[in-house]
């Protein structure tokens, strides 16, 4: 920033020397990513060992493709992720709108609750949701399964969407919406033609975040899932009970690559929209 504003740039004067900083950064990255790289590396190992390298093979990926239960878990995760994301994004967006554009009783309470929900220990959320479902849905004949997982995921992702969309709304000039109304747009048209296009990057970012959170959630899902509704994280956990196998490594690698691709693609999309 100082370079941009034309101020002096103090390069390494009276600070930690550049080379020490570089070394420090490398160590941090190694610490963060080495385990993941090891995992990916051994997913291509030709033997069952996850400790010694015996040669390159893709047999564990083939095993992955053959395993019906893994397919099932993957489809469950997708079903839950997509449905929960759609619902959470709609609710979260309108919550954000209400919190920034309207005054109502208990607004402060609503606001605080949204933030509190993001730091709530997952185990508490999981247990309380289970208790809630047992008390409400199960008497109505709705069993623990995909439906309860979706509801649970909507519940814990909605705050994240709200916060992300809200940040975007806060940075948006309110007079744009007034200008739209001034030019004859009723509230619905104003929302569709002005507000939504302008907050869309925020909405997309929120949706992406919700999907990622939903896709790899373990703790909450563990409490509210039922027979045959295992999601991918639950499936991996149950496989691990029989020891770490290269299949798990392969599966984890696929999930990892997919997640990175999603986030990378999403952020590219957002950046492009920002610039246009």
């Amino acid at each position: 920033m100082s370079a941009k504003t034309g101020g002096p740039v103090y390069k390494g004067v009276g600070r930690i020397p550049d080379r020490a900083l570089l070394l420090f950064s490398v160590l941090i990255y190694a610490f963060l990513y080495a385990p993941i790289l090891v995992l990916m590396f051994f997913s291509f190992n030709s033997s069952r060992s996850t400790q010694s390298w015996t040669g390159f093979s893709t047999e564990w990926y083939a095993a992955l493709l053959r395993d019906e239960t893994i397919h099932q878990a993957f489809f469950n995760s997708m079903k839950v992720g997509v449905t929960a994301t759609l619902i959470a994004t709609v609710i979260g967006t309108f919550t954000a709108l209400a919190l920034t554009r309207h005054d109502f009783r208990g607004k402060l309470a609503a606001d605080t609750t949204i933030y509190a929900a993001t730091v709530m220990p997952e185990i508490v959320v999981g247990v309380s949701l289970l208790a809630f479902f047992v008390a409400t849905l199960i008497p109505l004949g709705i069993e623990l399964g995909i439906v309860t997982i979706v509801i649970a995921h909507v519940a814990f992702t909605v705050s994240f969407v709200t916060i992300v969309v809200r940040a975007r709304l806060a940075g948006m000039d309110e007079s744009l919406e007034e200008a739209a109304q001034d030019l004859g747009a009723n509230p619905t048209t104003t929302f569709l033609r002005v507000t939504l296009p302008l907050i869309f990057p925020g909405v997309m970012a929120g949706a992406l975040l919700a999907f990622t959170l939903s896709f790899d959630d373990f703790v909450i899902t563990f409490f509210v899932s039922g027979v045959g509704s295992s999601t991918l994280p639950l499936k991996i956990y149950s496989m691990i009970k029989f020891g770490v196998t290269p299949v798990i490594n392969a599966l984890s690698t696929v999930v990892l690559v997919a997640t990175i691709a999603l986030i990378f693609g999403g952020s590219r999309l957002l950046v492009r929209r920002e610039n246009s």
Binding site: S175, E178, A179, Q181, D182, L183, G184, A185, R193, P197
Partner: protein
């Protein structure tokens, strides 16, 4: 706060502006706006005539934007009524009012290009495609933006964005155009240019303009009539010349142009001739604007260019020249009275003789007719 009704009661206040036969475009009757305890606009009554360039002038925070927002429909008056083109607008949402606004921040839609920005209102009104194309092109031409239709707003300068905002509003042919300090964010040169352009444009399209500004010079240059506001109250409504020559009260006299003010006790009243005695014993002859009682406190004002050097006039004061500022067309003198009060006067530089120098003791004089008794 003392409230002054200025339009109806005093002939000097309403000025030579509108003929009585003209239609009223915007009518405010007893409009008050409160935000909680705070009174932003108080008992405001105004008639703004069709085709008029009407300005709301006042210092920042005096309630100009609030007034405009009530006409546009973004805020509803706490009390009182507003009519636009003869129709009561209470409860009518902004998108159904026959007015358009040029916002202080321009509020150009950043996700739409110039064409789509300008076409926004026409599309909402369901105008045919061909007609939209024609009208948008015409509007862009009118504000000298022809050829910029495909541009994104972030590729436009401040002045160009201003023009887009103007075209976007005018293209809808509103009954009334509301402008909230539209030139406030521009540099001086561009502002002067656009002032003239706006004035010409208003004459061409014949739409009623309600123009908000805190710049008295701008208001005087552009307006047919001006309402001077202070702390939510309208002090005076008049055409620029009347406002300058016959300010109604101390606030208006001080806000519009430069002025010299004196306070004192009224000694005698004879017709509209008022004799005042200042605290240091000086006698001042002035012209009354409304009934005033002997022995009451009063304030009088005289414009700097109405004071001349010499001992010839209804009022003569002896002063010491403190500062001489050469301004080209005229010279400004700052003189000090024996009691330390300052007097400012201007002299045209058309005389061959040089004026007094700094430190010189001279007499200054002015006529009672140019020295007004002020209210407030």
């Amino acid at each position: 706060m003392q409230e002054r009704k200025t339009t109806e009661h005093s002939p000097t206040a309403s000025g030579a502006g509108p003929d009585t036969g003209r239609e009223v475009a915007v009518e405010l009757t007893g409009v008050t706006k409160r935000f909680g305890e705070f009174v932003a606009v108080e008992d405001l009554s105004l008639d703004i005539y069709e085709g008029e360039f009407f300005s709301l002038l006042g210092p920042s925070g005096c309630g100009k934007t609030t007034t405009l927002r009530m006409i546009a429909g973004f805020d509803e008056p706490t009390e009182g009524n507003i009519s636009v083109a003869g129709e009561q607008v209470r409860g009518v949402p902004p998108y159904r009012r026959p007015v358009n606004t040029v916002f202080q921040s321009y509020a150009i839609f950043p996700h739409l290009n110039v064409f789509d920005n300008v076409a926004f209102g026409l599309r909402r009104a369901g105008v045919q495609k061909d007609e939209i194309r024609q009208r948008v092109t015409d509007a862009c031409e009118m504000v000298q933006l022809a050829g910029f239709e495909k541009r994104r707003p972030n590729m436009l300068s401040g002045g160009q964005q201003q023009r887009v905002a103007l075209a976007r509003a005018l293209v809808n042919r509103p009954k009334v155009l509301l402008l909230d300090e539209p030139l406030g964010a521009l540099d001086l040169k561009l502002r002067k240019e656009l002032q003239l352009e706006l004035r010409t444009l208003q004459h061409e399209v014949g739409i009623t303009f309600v123009y908000v500004t805190h710049d008295q010079e701008e208001a005087l240059t552009m307006s047919d009539r001006i309402a001077v506001m202070d702390s939510g109250v309208v002090r005076q409504v008049a055409d620029p010349a009347t406002l300058y020559e016959f300010p109604h009260d101390r606030f208006v006299a001080g806000f519009i142009g430069q002025t010299n003010m004196f306070s004192g006790r009224v000694e005698a009243v004879e017709g509209d001739r008022v004799t005042l005695r200042t605290s240091d014993g000086e006698k001042i002859e002035a012209k009354g604007q409304e009934a005033i009682e002997a022995n009451s406190e009063a304030h009088v004002a005289v414009r700097p260019e109405k004071i001349r050097f010499g001992g010839d006039g209804d009022n003569v004061l002896s002063v010491t020249i403190e500062q001489v500022v050469y301004l080209g067309v005229s010279t400004q003198y700052i003189a000090v009275r024996p009691d330390g009060e300052k007097i400012v006067l201007y002299q045209q530089n058309s005389h061959d003789t040089a004026g007094p120098a700094e430190g010189e003791r001279v007499s200054v004089a002015w006529d009672a007719a140019n020295c007004l008794v002020l209210g407030g």
